[in-house]
């Protein structure tokens, strides 16, 4: 039998076509698309914010209820060293939190007073602009979210956040969690995490855990778009400061001094 170049090409072509038949058919015969129910979102038109009344907060010394409950329910690990530290909500001296609000002749005691810090859930968040995978974004109710599935651990967002609100998992956090809360996922090595304004509690109709845990009622949580909300009333009747407003990030965590 004569087997020339033309004949070889024909047979080769037919072979490739035959091999492609099954996968090709699988592509066009897709079983069915996903049907979901657009749940009536309780978050349309909301803009969540928090007011921290430092006068009330300083009423009781050495209290760590808000920090403790947050890190417990969100499976935040304790590594025991500052380099690896993961923080969602933490406390720093006043002079570190508000360096622009102190002066050298001011009250020495004020400088040392603890200030509770957490993600400011900025209205114009600089962190999300740096994310190359859109793993972090601002949700319609104003919460700056992180999708841990998509985070590639580049840490650009951490460089972008002027408040140091984001932490990176340098190692697998699970062995460093005292007691895992099975209602909330842990994180994995190589992702960035931060405060999520307890969005998993909000959807159940609960307020953030830190707000609930504070016995002094120093934390106020609510909707900025509602003129009757507790946060709006607190903002109206008090002198408010915020961290580094001059950067234009429009933080949604407010402080009453």
């Amino acid at each position: 039998m004569e087997f020339d170049r033309r004949g070889f090409l024909k047979i080769a072509g037919l072979t490739v076509l035959g091999l492609a038949a099954k996968p090709g058919w699988e592509v066009v015969s897709k079983i069915k698309p996903l049907e979901t129910l657009p749940a009536p979102s309780p978050f349309v038109g909301k803009k969540w914010a928090m007011v921290i009344d430092l006068k009330k907060c300083w009423g009781k010394e050495g209290c760590i209820e808000c920090l403790d409950v947050c890190h417990r329910i969100h499976n935040v690990p304790t590594f025991g060293n500052i380099k690896d530290e993961i923080k969602w909500i933490w406390s720093v001296p006043y002079e570190k939190a508000f360096p622009e609000h102190i002066n050298e002749f001011g009250d020495e005691g004020l400088r040392r007073k603890p200030v509770i810090l957490l993600c400011n859930q900025c209205d114009d968040p600089p962190c999300i602009k740096y994310c190359p995978t859109r793993a972090t974004w601002k949700r319609e109710d104003g919460i700056v979210m992180i999708d841990f599935h998509r985070c590639i651990g580049c840490r650009y967002c951490m460089a972008g956040c002027p408040y140091g609100s984001r932490s990176f998992n340098w190692k697998d956090p699970r062995p460093f969690i005292k007691k895992v809360n099975i209602e909330f996922p842990t994180r994995t090595k190589g992702v960035v995490e931060k405060c999520n304004f307890c969005e998993e509690r909000l959807i159940q109709g609960l307020i953030p855990a830190c707000v609930e845990a504070c016995k002094e009622k120093a934390l106020i949580f609510g909707d900025l778009n509602d003129p009757e909300s507790a946060v709006r009333r607190a903002l109206k009747s008090n002198h408010i400061i915020q961290r580094q407003v001059e950067l234009g990030t429009k933080p949604k965590v407010f402080y009453i001094v």
Binding site: I31, K32, L34, E35, T36, L37, P38, A39, S41, F43, W137, R139, M145, D147, F148, H149, D172, P175, I177, K178, K179, V180, I182, P185, T186, R187, T188, I203
Partner: protein
């Protein structure tokens, strides 16, 4: 052909080594091995059905889970409408694992190990049976 005998011997040795898994399994009678994902006895007893037909789940569970993930995390949509119009919470740990609570060795890993497919769901998502609390 130069060194024909050596080349042919080499090819033969190569083929024997390459096909070693096949005839080794054949000689030990394991060629017909099929993974058997085990359904929890209580599920069988109650005659509970999976949220979608078995055939669909077998082929498409990974796509379903990915769609659920995107939907819940990114769009805040949490209710899934199954083929039979029943509604389910789109949650791996609350919906799937609620029934398939023997997930690790007896269910998921049966096929995943057989096919050599690894997943990283459980790096973060937790399961009551597998979380061993350290300390308190």
């Amino acid at each position: 052909m130069y060194d024909g005998s050596k080349i042919i011997a080499g090819i033969l040795i190569f083929l024997i080594l390459m096909t070693f898994p096949l005839w080794y399994n054949a000689s030990t009678g394991k060629t017909g091995y099929m993974p058997k994902p085990k359904i929890e006895p209580k599920i069988l007893a109650e005659k509970k059905q999976c949220i979608e037909p078995k055939e669909f789940i077998r082929v498409k569970h990974m796509d379903l889970l990915k769609d659920w993930r995107e939907s819940v995390v990114r769009r805040n949509i949490r209710i899934y409408v199954a083929g039979d119009k029943k509604k389910y919470n789109m949650s791996l740990t609350k919906t799937c694992i609620n029934c398939h609570s023997n997930k690790r060795d007896e269910f998921c890993n049966q096929c995943h190990n057989y096919m050599g497919v690894t997943n990283n769901c459980w790096d973060c998502h937790t399961h009551p049976k597998e979380v061993s609390p350290k300390g308190t």
